[in-house]
Symmetry: C2
Subunit: 201 residues, 2 copies
């Protein structure tokens, strides 16, 4: 059985939890508190030298880090990852977009605003994160104005990857209501079978 | 025939150029000067709303952005992208690592130090980029101390993705000589058949 090491209030970990639910894949979940340094212990670094969750244990001594690589692995053979060459490349295009042009702004703003104290020095970074975060939302809005989902016209792991931090972007101060196509897509994703919400305690 | 829009001195564009050479895939190359705003024109944004190179034209009106998604697409069916489920996931793991934990530090330091004037205000960012850039090099060193390449024991597109900016990390001020396994790997990659160097004019 798969074991996931993850932090339930983290969007990157939530991607994996949502996919496991939607594909009804049996697994165990080991809650790993990044704020308490649980990804910095020698034991954790032996499993993932990069010190990040989520981390999927595929077998004895075999670990897969990187949330989007985990999505690809778990969705293999399911309709959520297209099997054809173009569909796979187009899915990866949006997943790399998410990690490079979206998460570092939208997720980081959320982390600073939601999980650090109001007087923390990192608050100074937030205004600078808005420019590029809004740019990413603009790219998404353009796509979703003409299509219901990111790849072809079907729900896929690209939607899961982008949903994770987009639907809680307001936590970081982003005004999602400016993006009606993104907002409608959030509702479509949340209406998928076996959808589960992000834990926001 | 494929057409690539790319910037020859950019590591992300070079990944595509190197793979096309190694797989001997016929293509045309349209040099696109990011420093002159060529990725910000309405014509370019119609092809890639995210305004970035490299961009692969796969067919009429069909464009694929994101360097690592392009590598996956072009390497499909070749030995450079493993066909088995674990091999693919493990390759993607390193490619997502590259875009999230490596490129934003090592490539950005190079950009600031090599392409901006010495008195540019962004020089102030560089010391902050070293911590996380060196952390990425440490993760690579650990892998390469025990294996010749990143995935299994064979050269793959994960090596191409990580080679692009690692081998010119000194341009940004990184001391690569502290990482003997990385340095030896750079030499192994540069000795691959049909290797071509990054243009560093």
């Amino acid at each position: 059985m798969y074991k996931v090491l993850g932090t339930s209030h983290s969007g990157n970990s939530y991607k994996v939890k949502l996919l496991l639910s939607q594909l009804q894949i049996p697994h165990t979940w080991q809650e790993t508190d990044i704020l308490q340094g649980a990804t910095r212990t020698p034991e954790f670094l032996a499993m993932n030298p990069n010190g990040k969750v989520p981390l999927l244990q595929v077998g004895p001594g075999r670990y897969l880090p990187e949330s989007n690589a985990i999505l690809c692995y778990l969705a293999d053979g399911s309709p959520l990852w297209p099997a054809d060459r173009w569909g796979r490349a187009d899915t990866l295009r949006w997943m790399f977009f998410e990690q490079y042009s979206h998460e570092p702004y939208i997720a980081v703003a959320r982390f600073i605003m939601k999980f650090l104290p109001p007087d923390h020095s990192r608050r100074a970074e937030v205004p600078g994160l808005y420019d590029r975060g809004y740019k990413a939302l603009g790219v998404m809005e353009q796509r979703l104005s003409a299509h219901p989902y990111f790849v072809g016209d079907a729900y896929s792991i690209a939607d899961i990857a982008l949903f994770a931090y987009t639907h809680v972007a307001a936590d970081g101060g982003f005004a999602l209501e400016r993006y009606p196509a993104v907002t409608a897509w959030i509702e479509r994703v949340a209406a998928q079978p076996r959808f589960i919400p992000l834990e926001t305690h």
